[in-house]
Each structure stands twice: as structure tokens, then as C-alpha cells.
């Protein structure tokens, strides 16, 4: 059973991997960006856990900037994905423009809160 479990896991992983390779490049870029943002947030949380949350506003600001930009990237991915029927009429450039604008506003707030 163990062997079949591990084989199943391996099979699962391989199928996921192959399915993922089929996704278009631009979506992969967005995914990579999200992963980068989340990792940055995790490192910040680990730092705070280590040294204490003294300038708490700075911590929040840093973490929220990463999470916020990740969320906006996810929204972009949804809107840009051609397989998504809901956003068929929306031009991807328009979605990208929204992404840029929202990021700029988010970062203004973040910088103000950073202190």
C-alpha cells in the first residue's frame, strides 16, 4: 500500500506538472510573481517572529504590501485567462492597466503606513 501511495503521489505530481506546462506563458509569469510575493511575506513573518513586533506598523505594511500585490496579481490572472468565460469581453490590456493602477494606489498607502 505504501508503495502504491507513493506511486500515486508521484503520478499525481507528474500529471499536475504536465497539465501545468500547458498553461500559457503569461499566466505562468503571473503565477511566478504571486509565488515571489508570498515568499517575501513569509520571510517577513519569520523575521518578526524572531525579533518581536516592535515597529508593528512597519511589519503590517510590509506583509500587507506582499499579500496585496499577490491578490491583485491573482485578479489579473483571472481576468487575463482566456479559458475564463466570464471575462471574455474584457481586453487583457485593460486588466493590466487596472492591475498597475491598483498596485500604485496600494503602494502609496503602504509607503505612508511604513513610517
Amino acid at each position: 500500500m505504501v508503495k502504491s501511495t507513493s506511486k500515486d503521489a508521484q503520478d499525481l505530481f507528474r500529471s499536475l506538472h504536465s497539465a501545468y506546462s500547458a498553461t500559457p506563458t503569461n499566466l505562468k509569469v503571473i503565477d511566478l510573481y504571486v509565488v515571489f510575493a508570498v515568499f517575501t511575506a513569509l520571510i517577513q513573518v519569520a523575521y518578526m517572529a524572531l525579533v518581536g513586533s516592535f515597529p508593528f506598523n512597519s511589519f503590517l505594511s510590509g506583509v500587507l504590501s506582499c499579500i496585496g500585490t499577490a491578490v491583485l496579481a491573482v485578479c489579473l490572472r483571472i481576468q487575463v485567462n482566456k479559458e475564463n468565460k466570464e471575462f471574455k469581453d474584457l481586453a487583457p490590456e485593460r486588466a493590466f492597466a487596472d492591475f498597475v493602477l491598483c498596485n500604485l494606489v496600494l503602494h502609496l498607502v503602504i509607503i505612508n503606513f511604513l513610517g
Partner: protein, 684 residues
């Protein structure tokens, strides 16, 4: 001149007040004379005006002070100049003649007839009271000084009537017929002027006119004011001294000029004299002149000459056994006529009469009356002596007047005997004496006692007056002084037969601040009537007190140096908020490096995915807008960095709004071009 003199007055006034704290008047004395020298002799050797010169010279003359010769010369020069000039005013002529009367200058070159005719014309044409005064009094002075000249007043009765027209019903006089303002001062001036008119033309003035003036004088005396101690004065806008002096001058010259005699109430005359003497040494030259001039008028007048009773010393010392001296003199200090002084009553502070009807003996050499025998029961303390003066009427030419009774506060002092002085330490419960020492309070002692907090300290002594009565002193203090200079003072109470103080240490432990150790004992007994007041160190007491509990107050800190309170105070150590603990610098730098790693990972991933910028537009227009788009985003991010470092929100927002608008246009163009390009690709 005034500032230098003022300090002297204050000093002599103080001296006068200290030795004359009662309501006893003192006649003019040498302190007056020395003060007058300071006030009136000008520093630069000449007087500022003839009026000032007259006031100064008259005062110095009355007080018998010698005038300096160079001062007389310079003043005489001024006098001769004024008298010789034809354009001098009436006032200047009057004062020049007054000064001449005192200094007796050499006026050989002056033609008296010119002066006299000027004054006569002035008297005839005068309308104001002061003009009448200067011209009429000037003529009187001219008559005295220039004996050969004929000085007549012209129509004396008309002048008399026009002056009299200025009188009022209430006894006051007006300065002119136009001005309704009236004053008592003007009344004095008017009487002097009228006296001058009468003396220049005695036969021309009707007696009935003079009689109406006398009723005016009675009305004037109705407006007299008085103080409770029996002094009388006239008040007005010129001040009490000037007004009183003016009235006295007027009345004395009026009484001197007419023959029927003037009857003035004697007690008021004495009251006026006492008022003037009560001023002491006046503060300014005008008051000084008025005081001395008025006293000089009172000294020798036609109605009644006041006599003043004064005492050089108001303290009787029972140990020295000196007699009590009393002087009777005129206001200027001259000899009084034959009279006798009687001590009608000597009232003690309780009100009982100790001496009555004792006649004082007279010592002709010093012209003083004295009382040298006191009854056996005359004890120390405060008394009020009541003196009466009996005049020997038959021998006198002048009418003298004195106060009915003169009340003088007298203090009697003596040696108080201190007996049975002892200090003891008692056991509080039983009251038995643990140790007892006799004290000799005539000198310091060195008694040594010891006590603990359960015991009591008792100090007792008996004070007796020379007569044998128990004496209660004004001050009886016991002071305990610790080695650390902390002091405590206790009052010794006198009751019945003796004076006693009991200190119960059990109750005093807290007051003594729980300080055990050696205490010096000091006793003070004092009183105004006690000639042998004492402040003695009696000895030491070793006190054993319990330990200080936590809550007890600490003894007050004694300053080591009395000026140390002006030195710097203790430094204040401020307590600041403890800053938050920041992590070690190296740790922070390590994590800074760690943060960068995901970014590097992102970049590596991008290259692995094979991202490219192939679809970057090649045409110029599109390329520029694309470049500007990326540049704009970069600029906004740079703005954010600057905002974090140093900018504030408002400048950032301003810049951001401008960049945002720019970015909007540029982005729109770029992205629409991209969109159209991909559409073309799709359709193609």
C-alpha cells in the same frame, strides 16, 4: 539740599518719636535748630527767591541761629536791587522789605519815597486780597525801616471797608470779590492786613467796624478741628500747618494792633500750640517756616501765652532712685513765669491711684520741677501720671494759659528678685524626684541631667517685685538645643505663687523628632519693667528617646551655611521612557539579504520561462509612448521612495496627481496600441 536734609529729619523724627512715644509735647529744642540749618541754608550760597529768603531768615532768626555773612551779603544785594528798581511788583517789594527787616541791609542809596508811593498806589488800586496784603504790610515795614519818611495810607477807612467786603458769614474770607472760593488761610491773611491798616491809621477806623471783626473771629473758631489728645488746628486746601499758621499770624497781629483786647478761648490756644509742636520736625521748608513763625507769634502775644509741660525722661528706675524731672516752658523753650506743678494723680495700669496731690519741688538752677519721693508701695509697671499747673497770677504782666491736666504715661522699672530656682527630673508615674538641682540664675550654670522618655523635666522659680508682689514676666522661655542644632522652645507659665514648666517627654517624643543625645538648656526671662532680664545657659540634659519609627517626620535639616539656600539646588534626574529593544544590527542585515532572495528567484524563473520583449513596438510613436509609460511607472515608484525618505504626504500627492494624469494618457495610448496590434494579429 532737600534730599540730604530729609534723611536727617527722618532720623531725628525717629529719635523724637522713640523718646516721646506718649502724647507729651516737647518745646522747640536743639534738634530743631540743627535741622533748620540743614533745611534753610542753601548749598550754593544764595536763595532762589526773596520769598524763600524771607522764610529761611525769619526761621533762623526765631531759632537764634547765626546766618552766614556771605549769604547775608548776596541776599542784601538782591534786596537793594529790588527796592531800587522802579518796575518791581508789590509782592517782591513786600518780601524785599521783610528780608531787609531781618538783615538790616545798607540801603543808603535807595529813595524811600519812591517805594512808599508805589505801595500807597498799590493799596489804593488793589482789588485782590493778596494785593492789599502786600501793599499794606509793605507800608508797615517801610514805616519801621525808614523812620524819616511819612507813610500814610490815604483813605484808610475805604481800604478797610473794601478788605472787609471780602469776608463771609461762616468766618472764612474770599481772595477776590469775583471768585467765590473762600478759605480759612485767606482769613488769616485778611486779619494781618487789617491789623496793618489799623496800625497805620489808628484814629481813622471806627470801633464798630473792629467789633464786627471780632464776631468774625468767633465764627472762625467755630470751624476749628481737633484730635482726641486735645490738639486743635485749622484745616484748609493749603494744608493744616499753613492754614493754622496763617490764622495765628493774623490773630496775633490783630490783637497787637488794637487796644481793647481780644478774648480767645484759652484751651484752644493751648491746643493750637500743642498741634504745632506735635508736628515734630517738619519735612519741608514751607511747613518748617510756618511752624516756627506761628510758634514765635504764640510765644509773645496779647491774648494768652501758652505754656508747655514736658518731661525729659518718662522712665522711673526704682534701683537708681533718681527723681522724676518735669519742665515747664513756653513753646520756643523760654523760661516760664512763677508757677507750681502738682502731681494730681498717679494711676496704675489697673486704674488704682497710687500717688495723689503731691506737689513737685522746684530747682531754680536747672529750672525744673522734680518728684523725688515715691511711696513704699510704688511697684514696677506702667502708670499714667496726671500733672496740673497752678499759675502765680499776681506776678504776671502777660496772660498765660496751660492745659487743665496733662496726662503722661510713665514706666517704672526695677530689679526683680528670682528665688527658689530649681530644675528637676521626675519619674512620671509616681511623681517622685529622681534628681534635683538648685539654680543660680545670676550667671550661666553647668547643670548636668539625664532623662529618658518616661520621665519629666520640671523647671520652677519665683519672681518677686521690689514691693513683694509676685511678678509675671512678659517673656519666659526655655530652649532645648540638640547637638545637631535642632531647637525647641517652651513657654514657662506663671500662676499664683510661682512660675513653672513641666516637660513630659512621653508626649514630646514626636515633637523632638526622636532625637536622643545631649541637649543644651537655655532660659530667657524678660520684661519691659525688669532691669535684670536674663538669658542664661543653665546646663545640659542627656535625653534617651526611643528609635524613630518609619512614618515619623525627620528633623528639619539645619543649613550648615545660612547662605546655602542661595546655592545650586539638587540635580533632578529625569526618567525617560525606556526605548524599545531593537534587534541586533547583523540579524537585520541578514534578513535584508534573505528578502532579496525571492526577488532573485523571480528573475531566474522569468528567464527560465523565456520571457521576452519581442512585442515591444518598433514604430517611433508607439515606442516613445511605451517608453514613457514604463518611465512613468518608474517615476511613481521613485516618488514613493522619496516619500518614505523625506517627503510628506501632501507634496507626494501633488506630484502623484500630476504623474498620474501623465501616466493615464501615456498608458492609454500604449495599451490601446498593444490591443489593436493583438487584434490585428488575431484577425490576420
Amino acid at each position: 539740599m532737600m534730599a540730604r536734609g530729609l534723611l536727617r529729619f527722618l532720623a531725628s523724627l525717629l529719635a523724637l518719636a522713640i523718646c516721646n512715644a506718649a502724647s507729651v509735647s516737647q518745646p522747640i529744642s536743639d534738634s530743631h535748630r540743627s535741622a533748620a540749618v540743614d533745611v534753610f541754608l542753601p548749598l550754593d550760597g544764595s536763595f532762589k527767591s526773596l520769598e524763600e529768603a524771607y522764610e529761611a531768615l525769619k526761621t533762623l532768626d526765631v531759632l537764634g541761629i547765626d546766618k552766614k555773612s556771605d549769604l547775608s551779603l548776596s541776599t542784601c544785594e538782591n534786596v537793594v536791587k529790588v527796592l531800587g528798581s522802579s518796575s518791581s511788583a508789590l509782592k517782591d517789594l513786600f518780601y524785599a522789605l521783610s528780608v531787609n527787616g531781618i538783615l538790616k541791609c545798607k540801603t543808603g542809596e535807595i529813595v524811600p519815597k519812591d517805594i512808599v508811593s508805589k505801595l500807597q498806589a498799590g493799596a489804593k488800586d488793589a482789588k485782590l486780597l493778596l494785593d492789599f496784603y502786600y501793599s499794606v504790610r509793605g507800608l508797615v515795614l517801610a514805616k519801621e525801616q525808614f523812620s524819616g519818611t511819612d507813610v500814610s495810607l490815604g483813605d484808610a477807612e475805604a481800604i478797610f471797608r473794601s478788605i472787609k467786603a471780602l469776608s463771609q458769614n461762616d468766618g472764612r474770607w474770599r481772595y477776590s470779590s469775583n471768585n467765590p472760593e473762600s478759605s480759612t488761610f485767606a482769613a488769616g491773611v485778611a486779619f494781618e492786613t487789617l491789623a496793618g491798616v489799623i496800625s497805620l491809621a489808628p484814629s481813622e477806623i471806627d470801633q464798630s467796624l473792629i467789633q464786627t471783626l471780632k464776631t468774625g473771629i468767633v465764627k472762625l473758631f467755630d470751624s476749628i478741628q481737633k484730635y482726641d489728645d486735645g490738639t486743635f488746628y485749622f484745616d484748609g486746601s493749603e494744608g493744616p500747618i499753613s492754614t493754622t499758621a496763617s490764622v495765628i499770624r493774623g490773630l496775633t497781629s490783630f490783637a497787637a494792633s488794637e487796644s481793647t483786647g481780644l478774648n480767645l478761648p484759652g484751651d484752644k490756644i493751648v491746643g493750637l500750640a500743642k498741634f504745632l509742636l506735635g508736628v515734630g520736625i517738619p519735612g519741608d521748608a514751607k511747613d518748617f517756616f510756618n511752624q516756627v513763625d506761628a510758634l514765635a507769634c504764640l510765644e509773645d502775644n496779647r491774648f494768652s501765652v501758652p505754656l508747655i509741660l514736658s518731661l525729659p525722661s518718662t522712665v522711673i528706675s526704682l534701683t537708681k532712685k533718681e527723681p522724676l524731672k518735669v519742665k515747664v516752658s513756653t513753646v520756643l523753650g523760654s523760661k516760664a513765669p512763677a508757677l507750681s506743678v502738682k502731681l494730681a494723680d498717679a494711676l496704675s495700669s489697673k486704674g488704682s491711684s497710687v500717688i495723689s496731690n503731691q506737689e513737685l519741688k522746684f530747682d531754680a538752677d536747672s529750672a525744673t520741677y522734680f518728684l523725688d519721693s515715691f511711696p513704699k508701695n510704688f511697684d514696677v509697671g506702667k502708670y499714667t501720671f496726671v500733672f496740673e499747673i497752678l499759675l502765680d497770677e499776681s506776678a504776671n504782666e502777660k496772660a498765660y494759659i496751660t492745659e487743665a491736666q496733662t496726662k503722661v504715661p510713665i514706666a517704672a522699672t526695677g530689679a526683680i528678685s528670682i528665688e527658689n530656682a530649681e530644675i528637676a527630673v521626675l519619674d512620671s508615674d509616681v511623681g517622685s524626684v529622681e534628681s534635683q538641682k538648685k539654680l543660680d540664675l545670676s550667671k550661666d550654670g553647668a547643670v548636668s541631667l539625664s532623662a529618658n522618655h518616661l520621665q519629666k523635666l520640671r523647671l520652677s522659680f519665683q519672681l518677686t517685685t521690689p514691693v513683694g508682689v509676685v511678678f509675671k514676666p512678659h517673656q519666659a522661655f526655655l530652649k532645648l538645643k540638640h547637638e545637631s542644632q535642632v531647637e525647641h522652645i517652651f513657654l514657662v507659665k506663671t500662676s499664683g505663687k510661682k512660675s513653672e514648666l513641666v516637660l513630659d517627654f512621653l508626649g514630646l517624643v514626636e515633637k523632638l523628632h526622636y532625637l536622643s543625645g545631649k541637649y543644651e538648656i537655655q532660659l530667657t526671662i524678660g520684661d519691659a519693667s525688669m532691669e535684670n532680664s536674663l538669658l542664661n545657659n543653665i546646663g545640659h540634659i542627656e535625653l534617651d528617646l526611643p528609635e524613630r519609627p518609619e512614618k515619623a517626620s525627620l528633623p528639619p535639616l539645619q543649613p550648615t551655611d545660612p547662605y546655602s539656600r542661595y546655592g545650586p539646588k539638587a540635580e533632578i534626574s529625569h526618567i525617560f521612557r525606556v526605548p524599545e529593544k531593537l534587534p541586533a544590527k547583523q540579524l537585520s542585515l541578514v534578513f535584508l539579504g534573505l528578502i532579496v532572495l525571492p526577488f532573485i528567484g523571480f528573475l531566474i524563473g522569468l528567464t527560465r520561462l523565456g520571457v521576452n520583449i519581442k512585442s515591444f513596438p518598433s514604430s517611433v510613436g508607439a515606442a516613445t509612448s511605451a517608453l514613457l509609460f514604463h518611465g512613468g511607472i518608474g517615476a511613481v515608484l521613485l516618488l514613493y521612495v522619496l516619500f518614505w525618505i523625506k517627503l510628506d504626504l501632501f507634496t507626494t500627492l501633488k506630484a502623484l496627481s500630476m504623474l498620474g494624469v501623465f501616466l493615464l494618457f501615456v498608458g492609454h495610448s500604449t495599451l490601446s496600441q498593444l490591443a489593436s496590434a493583438s487584434n490585428k494579429l488575431k484577425s490576420a
